[in-house]
């Protein structure tokens, strides 16, 4: 490329040419810059996430078993097989109930804790740091932690039970106790996440309405119900969406704690898909199940999204 000194020697004519060429290059760069800046990222996301997803869609229409080389087209066969099988209905219902229970527990505990942590007091930062630890623990490790605590012979839970004179329980063997154990292990990681979001939301709240409410003599409960919660709606909606997504992706905890057992008692969709693929090597069926799960997740998020949108619209109107 021509340096400034060189330009001076070559003279005004070619310099102008240089400028127009350069500006043309600039225009080209400016026009296509976002594309080539995005290219590496989109390339790798496309190759590793998008293409496999589409490939899964294709496989879901085949009778695809790993051991066999013939992979005949079966249309919606896998989808029909998936939806009509008794175990799928059980697992889906189980996953929905699991998600609802976890969300109720997580949001109640997280909101209460966040309200307390939002107060000004000494040592607040320390509490907040420690609260982060469970959510950043590897789910595998969380699974093992709780599997150890719920161990029927040497686990902490039964040691405490025996200590206070209760009968020890077969936590991971009895279906309902196993379900409870899974919920506990999951909310243990979920509560801090929701709490962090709620706390950030609380700290971003505008102060004037609250000051006015105090002047008007509103009780703490009224302020919470009529001011805090409505103002927090966008944050709560985001937290809900993220938790719904993640509660339909829970895999590690199940894989470590119960392997879906006893029977199908703690089986959730991702583990069910994993089993269909890697234990029964029914890749076609597993791919169909994957896409059904994606579809279900999206359907669950639609009301949240629409509600949030109408909320934002009405807010705009009010403003």
């Amino acid at each position: 490329m021509a340096g400034p000194a060189e330009n001076r020697i070559i003279g005004i004519e070619s310099r102008r040419e240089h400028i127009t060429l350069r500006s043309r290059l600039d225009a080209w760069q400016a026009r296509y810059a976002p594309y080539w800046l995005l290219l590496p990222a989109l390339g790798i996301i496309g190759a590793v996430l998008l293409y496999p997803l589409v490939h899964a869609l294709y496989i879901s229409f085949l009778d695809y078993k790993l051991a066999r080389s013939a992979r005949p087209f079966v249309g919606l066969g896998n989808y029909i097989e998936a939806v009509t099988s008794a175990s799928f209905g059980t697992v889906l219902a189980q996953n929905i109930i699991f998600a609802v229970v976890c969300i109720l527990v997580e949001f109640t505990v997280a909101m209460s804790t966040a309200l307390l942590l939002n107060r000004q007091f000494r040592g607040r930062a320390i509490y907040r740091v420690f609260f982060l630890l469970p959510m950043l623990t590897a789910p595998v490790l969380a699974g093992f932690n709780w599997r150890w605590i719920f161990n029927d012979r040497f686990g902490l839970m039964n040691q405490i039970f025996i200590g206070v004179g209760l009968a020890p329980q077969a936590w991971l063997v009895e279906p309902n106790l196993a379900r409870l154990s899974i919920v506990i292990a999951t909310v243990w990681q979920g509560i801090p996440f929701v709490m962090i979001l709620m706390l950030a939301g609380l700290q971003a709240l505008p102060q004037p309405p609250f000051e006015a409410a105090i002047v008007d003599g509103a009780t703490a409960w009224q302020r919470l119900r009529l001011l805090t919660l409505p103002l927090m709606r966008p944050v709560i909606a985001v937290a809900l969406a993220l938790r719904i997504i993640d509660l339909f992706r829970v895999f590690d905890v199940i894989y470590i704690m119960t392997l879906g057992g006893p029977g199908h008692a703690t089986e959730l969709l991702p583990f069910y898909i994993y089993r269909a693929a890697f234990s029964q090597s029914q890749f076609g069926l597993a791919s169909a199940l994957s896409w059904i799960t994606v579809f279900i997740t999206i359907v669950m998020l639609i009301p949240l999204f629409l509600n949030e949108r109408s909320g934002a619209e009405s807010e705009k109107l009010n403003a």
């Binding site: 989109l42 490939h55 804790t113 595998v140 161990n151 243990w188 996440f193 971003a204």
Partner: protein
């Protein structure tokens, strides 16, 4: 209002304030203790003698400190290899994210272009899909390419899984920068890449730190990718390593908890040195600041 009533009111308020503070401490401490129990129990188990691990009676504090379990994970199990593999993959994933992420994030926050909405929606959508759905065809693809049990496969897969979040977060950090900064640099003739390297990256260092830590932890903690894409000691990562302590006749709880503590160390380190950035990264997008 006389000064006397004011003083008594002030006193009543501070008395109430004290009671409220005490209640806050008590409630938060109880919640925190319950939340910390699994972690404390993990640490306590890892330093117990075997007789105490196999006890049906509750022994809170180990009578004797034993480090055998920590020796065992390196002597009898392949913990060193798991840690080494995981560190290599994590290093690779952070590097690729830090090279590929900023330009993409810059494009997303500073340009409006055709297909922008589609890209944005795609990034959110990628956060929604169950990884099981992707890992299955990915297994087929990597086995066709003979890339199973290679660092490359693990790094590529993890990079793609982390990139949507990285771009999403960095985009928000870049959006916070005053536009005049990079506009004036561009007017002075700097190329977009030059602007990113010389102006944007130095200014979003906290954002890069937050995303790097999040990408590290997500990779460090992941089970599914290594479970499906590696089945030899050459590339098995630490999360999969933990499952090797589940033996035929039962779980080796002593070594497993020791390995668990080792796996937990980076989490603790990052939480304590980068708490502010981590929280910022985790809440960004959900809360408008």
């Amino acid at each position: 209002m006389t000064s006397q009533t004011q003083a008594s009111r002030g006193f009543r308020f501070s008395g109430r304030r004290l009671a409220e503070d005490t209640a806050t401490y008590v409630v938060l401490s109880v919640v925190l203790l319950i939340m910390m129990t699994p972690i404390l129990w993990l640490i306590l188990t890892s330093i117990r003698p075997l007789v105490e691990i196999a006890s049906t009676r509750l022994i809170l504090i180990p009578r004797r400190l034993v480090l055998d379990n920590y020796l065992a994970v390196f002597r009898d199990y392949e913990m060193a290899a798991y840690l080494q593999n995981t560190l290599i993959v994590c290093g690779g994933v952070i590097a690729t994210n830090m090279v590929i992420g900023p330009p993409a994030a810059y494009a997303m926050s500073r340009y409006s272009f055709r297909g922008e909405k589609a890209v944005l929606f795609g990034l959110v959508f990628m956060r929604m899909i169950p990884l099981v759905a992707v890992i299955l065809p990915l297994f087929i693809i990597f086995s066709t390419l003979r890339l199973l049990n290679s660092y490359a496969a693990l790094i590529i897969a993890h990079t793609a899984f982390k990139l949507p979040v990285t771009i999403w977060l960095l985009r928000a950090f870049i959006a916070d920068l005053p536009r005049e900064l990079d506009d004036s640099a561009r007017v002075d003739g700097a190329s977009p890449l030059g602007v990113i390297v010389r102006i944007v990256i130095p200014l979003i260092k906290p954002g890069l730190a937050a995303t790097a830590v999040l990408a590290f932890l997500a990779t460090w903690n992941d089970l599914l990718v290594t479970l499906v894409l590696s089945n030899t000691i050459k590339t098995e990562m630490v999360a999969l390593g933990l499952t090797k302590f589940v033996l035929e006749y039962g779980v080796a709880w002593g070594p497993l908890t020791a390995a668990g503590v080792l796996m937990f160390i980076p989490t603790v380190v990052f939480v304590f040195i980068a708490e502010r950035y981590l929280v910022r990264g985790l809440t960004m997008g959900a809360v408008k600041e």
